[in-house]
């Protein structure tokens, strides 16, 4: 399953979709919007994609991963648009006969996805903090 969606992601059916009796291991990764980074608070992230290329690159990643590991089923789902803290931005799920190859494939997929798939994120500006400033500051 390859999908780029503006809709809220429910990870459970995505993970269920890669389960098969041939698998001994299902490994999944969820990327979520982190609210606190050091002393910075994130009120939301805006994700933007180049949809045609992003879908193509996701499909290429799946094919490359299948050539490296004995993947039975794979799912790569990325959200776009405005996300609130805690929401899921990306899901990677793979099933393999054994856990080591499932861990390796899942790790490689999310790491490589973040390097090559044309999807960008940007902090949503905290308009309220400007409005709340006292006059003259």
């Amino acid at each position: 399953m390859i999908e780029i969606t503006p809709d809220r992601i429910d990870a459970t059916p995505i993970i269920e979709s890669v389960r098969t009796p041939l698998a001994g291991a299902v490994c999944s990764f969820l990327g979520t919007v982190r609210e606190i980074t050091g002393e910075t608070r994130t009120i939301g992230l805006e994700y933007e994609a180049y949809p045609v290329m992003a879908a193509k690159k996701l499909a290429e990643l799946e094919a490359e991963a299948r050539s490296r590991w004995p993947i039975l089923e794979a799912a790569l789902v990325h959200r776009v648009g405005r996300l609130d803290p805690g929401e899921i931005s990306v899901v990677v799920a793979v099933s393999c006969p054994h856990r080591q190859e499932a861990f390796e494939a899942c790790r490689w997929l999310i790491d490589t996805l973040k390097e090559v798939v044309p999807i960008w994120k940007k902090d949503v500006e905290d308009v309220a903090s400007f409005v709340d400033l006292p006059p003259g500051t």
């Binding site: 994700y47 933007e48 180049y50 090559v116 798939v117 960008w120 994120k121 940007k122 902090d123």
Partner: protein, 91 residues
């Protein structure tokens, strides 16, 4: 020939439009496209070292020729890999 380049993320924000049309030589390479982008929008110059160019959804090398003429061209700023749209400092 005229070529329209799709812009995303920091490149789109810098130009203030989702695409840019530039004039290219008939046998222009990706490097030539970069020069044309710099001429069309000098504000892009600081970003250029960090931008990748895609031809028909494939990352292109600088010496690659822009063929065919109806190819979909796009400017690809650094993707989200843990960073934001902020422009990285030059190395």
């Amino acid at each position: 020939m005229k070529a329209t380049i799709l812009l995303f993320a920091s490149a789109r924000e810098t130009v203030g439009a989702p695409s840019l049309t530039v004039e290219l030589d008939e046998n222009s390479t990706v490097g030539g496209l970069r020069s044309a982008l710099a001429r069309a929008c000098p504000a892009l110059i600081p970003l250029l070292p960090f931008l990748r160019i895609a031809i028909d959804s494939e990352y292109a090398r600088n010496d690659q020729q822009i063929i065919p003429h109806d190819a979909e061209l796009a400017v690809i700023p650094p993707v989200s890999g843990g960073s934001s749209l902020e422009i990285p400092a030059p190395p």
